[in-house]
Amino acid sequence: MDFTLSEEHNMLQRMVRDFSQKEIAPVIKEYDRKQEPIPFALPRMGELGILGLCFPVRYGGQGMDYISLGLACEELEALDTSLRVAMSVHVGLCATTIFQWGTEEQKQKFLIPLAKGEKLGCGAFTEPGCGSDVSAIRASAKRAGDAYILNGEKMWISLASKADYALLTMRTNKDAAKPSQGLSTFIVDLHSPGVTSGDIHGKLGVRAGSTGWINFQDVRVPLENRIGEEGEGFKITMSAFDHGRYTVGSGATGLLRAALEASVKYSQQRTTFGRAISEYQLIQEKIARISQDYEIARLLHLKAGWLQNQGERCTREISFCKKFATEASFKAADDAIQIHGAYGFSDEYDVERYLRNARGAIIYEGSSEIQTLIQAGYALGQREDKPLRCELPAYDVEEWQK
């Protein structure tokens, strides 16, 4: 077993770190305070190829593997969660799901501009009345000749007001034997007539991120925009969640690292009772735990990335990674604030932002409670991964360069 990252991975990590340090670090506090997205962040990430890094070159991507996606998310969230959230919805929920389930025509039409960063994508599943309970989706898509008519509202959608496309799941059959069998997934142009959207302000964290709602009023979506078969929406949504959760878990690992680095630095500078606080065991205990949690979270996301490279389903491993890393990152940010004392409570330092940013990820993309049920289901043998009609392709280094 070889735990060494490749030179390619190391260089990629450095490149993403340089970008976030040089271009985002100087302005993040300003935009976080204003509760506005950094206007140039996503266009720059598009130009640099970050928004399509794990897709084959022929689909507008950069030909890197799934581990690279995790490493990029780790680097981005080490600076700010809002950058990683964009990766989760644009790359994870939207583009990767098209890559897995889309037809060749759909990949040509939608994946290429998404991977190139020319268009922005999001994933819209949550509704005002349902989140974890996907089979309770009420927003509807009714077949009308060679199109579907969409009605309903999606809520808590990252990039709702910024994205060009949304990958979303609607109810197409109210009378299905099981509610989960009556769902279908679509890729929808958010510039279509009947689509309205808006932003949600006053969030606890990810304030430089864009979160909002999307309303559909008799929106006509051509038949060819349906991803997968009619009735396959639940399965496709679960695939999308795997992709999204992987980026959330690997991203939270970056937040853990940021909390660790901030804590190490501050504890060596700050003195009390004549000594640097890093010399006190009560501080060391916190730092030791954050560093241990960082190591565990990193191993979990690298393993999930590796399994995806092999073409293996890893809902279980992604669930471990997502739940562990998000919960540990919140605890780490809290400890980092404690280490910083009163300064940690002020936005003069970054750690208070880490805490606010970390909280949401314990809820979104499958709350910790849902992750616990998934994990128990696997452990008790009540859950197994049945083969899907379309699996996420294994990474093939040669194939990806084409």
């Binding site: 030179e7 260089m11 990629l12 970008f19 640099l48 890094l53 030909g63 890197m64």
Partner: protein, 256 residues
């Protein structure tokens, strides 16, 4: 157009460099491409984009110095050469220039040889001029813009007093300042190319030169004397009062 860019691997600018037992150490900080040389790579790539041709990055050092070359390759350089030989240690700038000029001659047909203005570790800034001297080429130092016109070049130099425009015949050696714009990030395609690149290593024998001898000996190195920092907090009832008290203090201390 054949462009060579000479790069050096140095401790990261964020590293804490100290002297311990008479030796320089930077702890476990990473080694990176000299930040000034990143600007030189950027400028070389811009020349290539304007006139076509190739960019070759060269460096001197051990196996680990290949990382600096790989960074240049990932930014877009076409190829890279490592000059590595057990005899190459403790060189001064003059000896370094002998090796680099021999390498530039061996590459052959080079029209532009680019350097960063200085390396952030040694801070001498002499290698470009010494290399030019050995090649018998014009040395155009502190270049802030470069315009190649046929077989000559027009260079604006960033000097303290202002700007100076000079012209010279090619080939020439240039040391560059930051004005070419922020160095581009390595692209993902570049990263992939760089990580797979097989970088040739040239020994002194391949350059057909004998081991150059340093003419300057490095006998002692010490940490800068530690400074006593005294902190005064200027207080007052209003921002205006504080500013006035601060201004008085600055004048009294003859800071201004």
């Amino acid at each position: 157009m054949k462009i060579v860019v000479c790069v050096k691997q140095v401790p990261d600018s964020a590293a804490k460099v100290v002297v311990e037992n008479g030796k320089v150490t930077w702890g476990d900080a990473p080694l990176v491409i000299n930040p000034w040389d990143e600007y030189a790579v950027e400028a070389a790539l811009q020349q290539k984009e304007a006139h076509g041709g190739t960019v070759t990055a060269i460096t001197m050092g051990g196996e680990s110095a290949k990382d600096a070359l790989k960074h240049a390759l990932a930014m877009g350089a076409d190829d890279a050469i490592l000059i590595s030989d057990p005899a190459l240690s403790n060189l001064d700038t003059q000896a370094t220039a002998q090796v680099l000029s021999a390498a530039i001659q061996k590459i052959g047909g080079v029209e532009l040889a680019f350097f960063g203005r200085q390396a952030i570790d040694g801070d001498a800034g002499l290698v470009p001029a010494q290399t030019a001297r050995l090649l018998d080429w014009p040395a155009l130092t502190l270049a802030s813009t470069i315009k190649v016109e046929g077989d000559s070049v027009r260079v604006e130099r960033a000097i303290e007093e202002g700007r100076q425009v000079v012209t010279a015949k090619l080939p020439a050696v240039f040391s560059l300042v930051k004005d070419f714009g922020e160095p581009r990030y390595p692209s993902f395609m570049g990263i992939r190319k760089a990580s797979r690149a097989v970088i040739p290593a040239w020994s002194l024998a391949e350059l057909s030169i004998s081991a150059p001898a340093a003419v300057i000996a490095w006998t002692e190195i010490t940490n800068p004397p530690s400074r006593e920092v005294k902190c005064d907090i200027v207080t007052g009832g209003s921002p205006e009062e504080i500013a006035e008290a601060l201004a008085d203090k600055i004048l009294a201390e003859k800071v201004l």
